[in-house]
């Protein structure tokens, strides 16, 4: 028994595991906070697009020896500007524009990484590598996540009104253009942070799944945020922990955990779950009979 316990506590003895677990939890929490908003607007795939678009920035930063976050940030801004520009100046639909811009940038990133393979590994970018994260990257990620969390705690209600009813938000003097810009800035920053923990391909899960799960569990936006953040923090921490034993990619484990919880909510949520709907339908049929 005690041998088993000792075995289970092993990850906590390793500095790199502790670091991986805490950083993942922090990033998971902030991404989950943003996911509460992102999935409400039909913008979920914007997160995916951003994550792929920042790859050339990350590659450029690695090649030039600049901080990871700086390159990613500029690439993120470049991506949103490019999407907006193409959207406004052409008659293409939004999804086509997003698809066009993000794949173009992702391809550019992969190209850069394959031309200079010594300075940046494609695998790190695509799958993340939280277990080998460098200390200066930890600082970057912690700053990004901490600042984003603080900002969101200050403006979460204004952000809610802006997402719910932009006209009303404007009528009470909220600068909705600024807030939406702020949201996407934070989203790009947190995407960069999440890139290190789960990699470009799975970032989308971090900024969608916790919010989507919480959406099935409550009708109050405040609670939705709390549930979503709790899910994000727990799954990321536990996911990093489990990945030690499975010897698997941390990102994969975290996202699988999140998906499991989503499926549980999807079927068993007290009001919006599949089973609850079926019960209600049954009750309605019986009442009618």
């Amino acid at each position: 028994m005690s041998a088993l316990l000792a075995e289970l506590l092993i990850p906590f003895d390793y500095g790199y595991m502790l670091k991986a677990m805490w950083v993942s939890a922090l990033v998971g929490g902030v991404c989950a906070f943003l996911s509460a908003y992102l999935m409400l607007k039909g913008w979920s795939l914007m997160g995916d697009a951003l994550a792929h678009s920042i790859v050339p920035g990350v590659a450029a930063a690695a090649i030039l020896g600049a901080p990871f976050a700086v390159g990613a940030f500029f690439a993120g801004i470049l991506a949103s500007v490019a999407m907006n520009f193409v959207k406004q100046k052409s008659r293409l639909r939004e999804d086509a524009v997003i698809g066009l811009v993000f794949t173009a940038l992702f391809a550019l990133g992969l190209l850069m990484a394959s031309i200079w393979p010594t300075s940046v590994s494609i695998q790190t970018i695509v799958l993340g590598n939280i277990l080998a994260i460098a200390d200066e990257d930890v600082v970057q990620v912690a700053i990004i996540a901490g600042v984003s969390l603080a900002v969101m705690l200050l403006v979460w209600k204004d952000m809610m009104v802006t997402f719910f009813d932009e006209n009303h938000a404007r009528s009470i003097g909220i600068n909705t253009t600024f807030l939406k810009g702020l949201f996407f800035t934070l989203l790009s920053a947190c995407t960069v942070a999440a890139l290190q923990t789960v990699g470009a391909c799975l970032v989308i899960a971090m900024v969608v799944t916790p919010g989507a799960t919480a959406y099935l569990l409550t009708d109050r936006f405040g609670r939705l945020i709390v549930i979503s953040v709790a899910l994000g923090v727990t799954t990321s921490f536990v996911g990093a922990y489990i990945s030690y034993f499975l010897d698997g990619a941390t990102g994969g484990v975290i996202v699988c955990l999140q998906t499991l919880l989503f499926l549980a909510a999807f079927f068993f949520a007290p009001k919006h779950g599949v089973l609850a709907s079926r019960r209600r339908r049954q009750a309605a049929i019986e009442a009618a009979a």
Binding site: L40, Q88, L154, K157, D158, M160, V161, F163, F164, D165, N167, H168, R170, S171, I172, G173, I174, Y215, T218, D219, R220, F221, L224
Partner: protein, 300 residues
């Protein structure tokens, strides 16, 4: 001379305040589409004004200009003598959205939506004070939605949904209220209740601008009309502006228009006739060229 009673003084103050002045407004969108050209109209306190025109006639552009969503390419909009930006900062404008524009699956309760009306009165953290909660209770009570306050907004009927947003406008205490298609998807009873509420607000000096397709109800509750078709075709008191001639001008061939008279109505030739004008909602019925006044629904 007696000093004025505070309430009356406040009402008088509000009366001085609520006005909309649109002067030679031009709006061209970034894609080059000119939605409104040289539009002008003035509205005073204690008015319910209908904004009438076909789809694409510039109704929503006028709304957007009043809300500061689009910048005029030329001309200006003044609210209570202030620029749009200043007016918005002072919570002068309340907006009641069209039902189609609302995400009814959004995870908010009825009371949360009404509380959003108070946000402009709160500090930047939007912490509700006792007074804010009181105003929310009062607004919910006034539209008869108190018992539904803990419902998620998507669980309501069409009329109830409308009333939630009216309550939000009441809680916001805006002197100018913009209503976008308030009667779409609303039952007759709720329509009467909304009209009753708008009349009360008019009596207390509010200014309401109502974008509507519902031509038949316009003479019932709107004292002013602005007819649009890419510009202001006519603006003024309903009796003067809301005429068959002007409506034909505004709607061109879009409107169904049929006249019943003479032999179609009577066995004998009779000079009197009935004209029915309609697009898709309740028709406007003109006897000769006078508006038919519907029987007022009994107060409920």
């Amino acid at each position: 001379m007696n000093a004025p009673v505070p309430e009356i003084a406040a009402a008088a103050d509000a009366k001085l305040g609520a006005s909309i002045s649109v002067r030679r407004l031009n709006v061209t969108y970034p894609n080059g589409f000119t939605a409104v050209t040289d539009a002008s109209f003035e509205l005073d306190p204690g008015t319910i004004c209908a904004l009438v025109g076909v789809n694409g006639s510039g109704k929503s552009t006028i709304f957007k200009a009043i809300m500061g969503f689009v910048r005029p390419t030329a001309g200006e909009v003044r609210l209570c003598g202030l620029t749009v930006g200043e007016a918005l900062k002072r919570n002068i404008v309340a907006y009641v959205p069209q039902s189609e524009d609302v995400d009814w699956n959004f995870p908010v309760l009825v009371e949360t939506v009404v509380m959003m009306g108070r946000y402009g009165h709160m500090n930047f953290l939007r912490m509700a004070s006792r007074a804010d909660r009181y105003k929310v209770d009062e607004a919910l009570e006034r539209v008869g939605m108190s018992e539904y306050r803990k419902r998620q907004i998507g669980e309501l009927s069409g009329g109830q949904k409308k009333r939630v947003f009216l309550a939000r406008a009441l809680a916001q205490e805006g002197r100018i209220i913009l209503l976008d298609e308030p009667f779409t998807g609303v039952d007759v009873k709720t329509e009467a209740a909304i009209v009753g509420l708008l009349r009360e607000l008019r009596a207390s000096g509010h200014l309401m601008l109502v974008s509507t397709h519902n031509l038949g109800s316009v003479p019932d509750f709107c004292d002013h009309v602005v007819l649009l078709n890419r510009t202001v075709l006519a603006a003024g008191p309903t009796a003067e502006v809301f005429t068959q001639k002007n409506l034909e001008l505004a709607f061109g061939g879009v409107l169904r228009n049929f006249q019943l008279g003479g032999a179609a109505l009577h066995d004998d030739a009779d000079a009197r006739s009935v004209t029915v004008l309609t697009d898709d909602e309740r028709p406007l019925v003109l006897y000769g060229d006078k508006h038919s006044r519907r029987q007022e629904p009994d107060g409920e």
